[in-house]
């Protein structure tokens, strides 16, 4: 409850909230909006009493406060005037050398002239759309795709085509077919958007073979790839895979990453490495957006990298997140019914769970909120209405006890709905089997959905069963 007592008198013409006065002024692109129903529900996930597995937040609670204070003190003492001043659009050179080290840690060597410092990784997506897309242009993305990219694609009025994923990431056969079809339709996509490592929201990682194939397809068709790699360094199992950027050597890959998951999302610093002509356009685009990213933040991050081995903090995060992932996977195995499936991510922040297709996870979220627990309904990760029976679960943002309790509560409402559906259909299956045409089928009453349709749908919506994967 918040109470604000305002003085009784106000200007008589204060009708600033009446949007109809402005409605005619809004641009066409602002009318492309996500489901208001889902927005209303998501607003409730932020209540204090809700265990939210819906966020995508890293855990910043373990960053040492004294270290933070010392760094800020250093920035103030050593860089005072420069930190308070505008900086170059492309970013400060010392920070770009830090970025070089981070990319080196993933086996990707880069020339600092190929880098542009951005305001979070999100700005890279925005800038790529800004410089490449005209309204109606095609963007190829994964199905599901990063929910935060969807409003950006929509804002630039892109026509998003989504390619199914399986446990090895984006399916290259489907990609090839789709590109061929687009070519036949006389349409050339501008770029392919992919999160190859520990996908948000799907939790899967693109295999080495597919990485090579994707780069080959991009070269053959002269298409750009936007490789979004915010989580690459957060690997809990298995061997690292080369980035698309390192396979491509900077010809068709626009690489995006961020300090958000290895240091802090609060510094709002990300970066892109792109082919120079593209980078030039993005730089001009960034000038019109924000001139430059925060100088204070750039000096802070630079000071942090000078202070000591940045990898230690990442290692500590890996320990925390690995345990939380394991707790979530164990809880899912314990609490979710056998009809459910989920991915087994080797890193990152998210697990993607898919329920039987008669459960709508947007409605399920409404039910779950009554038990004070939240997740992201799968539909948020699609532009075409798919994903209705899936959900994204985050394991980085809340502690182990909350993960256990949250999954227990979600499992309970899922089992409740599975049970109810069984009650509703089990009886009817028996009764229709016993007396086949119980009533006259009306002309407008087509036969129940054929099994193969249901199976095909499941193929599209579901990643392969992975619950017992090693």
């Amino acid at each position: 409850v918040t109470i604000d007592e305002s003085p009784g008198s106000r200007p008589p013409r204060s009708t600033a909230r009446d949007i109809e006065r402005y409605a005619a002024l809004f641009a066409e692109r602002t009318k492309v909006m996500k489901s208001s129903a889902m927005r209303d529900l998501m607003a409730l996930t932020e209540r204090d009493d809700v265990i939210s597995l819906a966020g995508g937040l890293p855990d910043t609670s373990t960053f040492p406060a004294d270290s933070y204070a010392a760094l800020m003190g250093k920035v103030a003492a050593e860089y005072c005037a420069r930190a308070l001043q505008y900086g170059p659009t492309e970013g400060f050179a010392p920070l770009k050398r830090c970025i070089q080290r981070v990319m080196e840690a993933e086996g990707t060597s880069i020339d600092t002239d190929d880098l542009l410092v951005t305001t979070g990784g999100q700005q890279v997506i925005d800038l790529v759309c800004k410089v490449l897309l005209d309204p109606g242009d095609v963007v190829v993305a994964e199905a599901p795709t990063y929910p935060g990219a969807v409003p950006t694609f929509c804002a630039y009025q892109a026509d998003v085509v989504q390619i199914t994923m399986d446990r090895d990431g984006m399916r290259m056969d489907e990609l090839a077919d789709t590109l061929a079809q687009l070519e036949r339709d006389g349409r050339r996509p501008k770029f392919i958007y992919t999160v190859p490592n520990f996908h948000n929201p799907a939790g899967v990682t693109m295999s080495l073979e597919r990485r090579h194939e994707l780069v080959r397809i991009a070269h053959d068709r002269e298409l750009l790839i936007l490789e979004d790699n915010p989580y690459g360094l957060l690997r809990y199992d298995g061997a690292p895979l080369p980035t698309l950027r390192s396979i491509d050597r900077g010809e068709y890959v626009i690489y995006a990453s961020t300090f958000s998951k290895i240091l802090s999302p609060g510094v709002r610093l990300g970066w892109t490495a792109a082919p120079r002509p593209v980078l030039q356009k993005m730089m001009i685009g960034k000038q019109s957006s924000d001139l430059c990213s925060s100088s204070i933040a750039q000096f802070f991050v630079t000071a942090y990298f000078e202070e000591g081995p940045w990898e230690d903090y990442v290692r500590s995060l890996i320990e925390i997140y690995r345990r939380r992932r394991d707790v979530m996977l164990d809880s899912l195995a314990e609490q979710f019914p056998r009809e459910a499936e989920w991915t087994h991510p080797e890193g990152g922040l998210f697990i993607w769970a898919t329920l039987p297709d008669y459960i709508d996870t947007t409605d399920l979220l409404a039910r779950a909120l009554r038990e004070n627990v939240a997740f992201v309904p799968g539909r948020a990760a699609f532009v075409d209405g798919r994903g209705g029976s899936s959900m994204r679960l985050n394991f980085s943002g809340v502690g182990e006890d909350d993960i256990r309790e949250g999954i227990r509560r979600i499992g309970e409402v899922v089992r409740e709905q599975v049970g109810l559906y069984g009650t509703l259909t089990g009886v009817r299956a028996v009764s229709t089997a016993a007396a086949p045409p119980a009533r006259q089928p009306a002309a407008s009453d087509p036969a129940p959905a054929p099994r193969e349709d249901a199976a095909a749908l499941a193929q599209i919506l579901r990643l392969p069963a992975n619950r017992r994967a090693s």
Partner: protein, 321 residues
């Protein structure tokens, strides 16, 4: 007379966002009318805040369960605080679609045929076995609704028997009681009713016209830009009169006061009117139907708010007598 008005908004319902907008807009109007506004986002400490604020009247801008179903009204009565809109019993009747439809059917007000069940009926009484008979009586497509949800959330179309179980599961996500209702193909009309000197008066009818052909996605239908609203609706005067008198009849039948909105369908094939439901606290946002209808009747938003305030439920307490 300047009053101390506590505007109750927000809350925990799924219509929280709409309620925040309704409340903010009412607050602006109340201030322009010269009242002192205390803005309260309703939560567990509501009683404490009301006690501290000691308002002359509570303006209820809550939508959905708790705000619209009589709960908050009951609490305000217990605390001896006057409040706007309908009283407890009318709120209970209007917010429960099943109760409202039974009342209408008993009175002879046309409402689409329906059957309502709670979860127990399916779990304990084997109501699922009755579904084929229900489906036959209602004919497809059938609309499946949670009994007590005010927005479009959870309302599903079942086009065939195969769709019914999933639609029921979805509706049960919102309420323990759901109804299966015959789908009326036709025009979507909303009649707002306000109390006037001479009793309840129907305002010009608002018609919701979906821009796209996808009639089967209720949630999408009410998204911005997907539906346009026409007020006054372009319908025959005799039909408009009939809709208005049905709306007033339902308003009185349920015991509403101050204001309410009654939703009807005008069936294509038959030209018959059917009442779907009544909303005890319809939205007051820029795009809501009641303010549009009031505007069409020459009642500006500030005047509407002034009238709602003037028609408040009096405080029930020993001092007032």
């Amino acid at each position: 007379v300047s009053l101390r008005v506590a505007v109750l908004k927000g809350g925990r319902s799924f219509e929280r966002q709409v309620s925040l907008k309704s409340g903010a807009r009412a607050e602006d109007a109340l201030r322009r009318l010269g009242h002192e506004v205390i803005s309260i986002d309703v939560g567990a400490d509501l009683v404490t805040h009301l006690t501290d604020a000691a308002p002359d009247v509570a303006f209820i801008a809550l939508h959905g369960p708790e705000g619209e179903d009589g709960t908050v009204q009951e609490l305000l009565e217990a605390m001896g605080i006057a409040y706007t809109g309908s009283g407890v019993s009318a709120c209970i009747r209007a917010s429960d679609k099943v109760l409202a439809k039974h009342a209408m059917r008993d009175r002879g007000v046309p409402t689409p045929d329906f059957f309502a069940f709670n979860e127990t009926a399916f779990k304990v009484l084997g109501a699922a076995q009755a579904l084929p008979a229900i489906e036959e009586r209602l004919d497809f497509p059938i609309v499946v609704k949670p009994a007590g949800q005010g927005s479009a959330l959870g309302i599903k179309f079942a086009r065939t028997a195969a769709d019914v179980p999933a639609a029921l599961v979805a509706a049960f996500s919102y309420d323990r009681k759901v109804l299966l209702e015959r789908h009326i193909v036709g025009r979507d009309l909303a009649v707002s009713v306000v109390d006037d000197d001479g009793g309840p008066r129907a305002l010009p009818i608002v018609e919701a016209v979906p821009k796209e052909e996808d009639f089967y996605d209720f949630e999408a239908r009410y998204e911005i830009g997907r539906t346009s609203f026409v007020c006054p609706a372009d319908i025959e005067p005799t039909v408009a009169d009939r809709a208005a008198s049905l709306a007033v009849e339902v308003y009185e039948l349920l015991g509403c006061s101050a204001f309410a909105r009654v939703d009807l369908m005008l069936e294509h094939d038959t030209g018959e009117l059917y009442v779907l439901e009544a909303n005890a606290i319809p939205g007051l946002t820029e795009t809501s139907l009641l303010p549009q209808a009031a505007e069409a009747a020459g009642i500006g938003f500030d005047e509407l708010v002034a009238r709602i305030l003037a028609a408040s439920q009096p405080a029930i307490s020993s001092e007032v007598g």
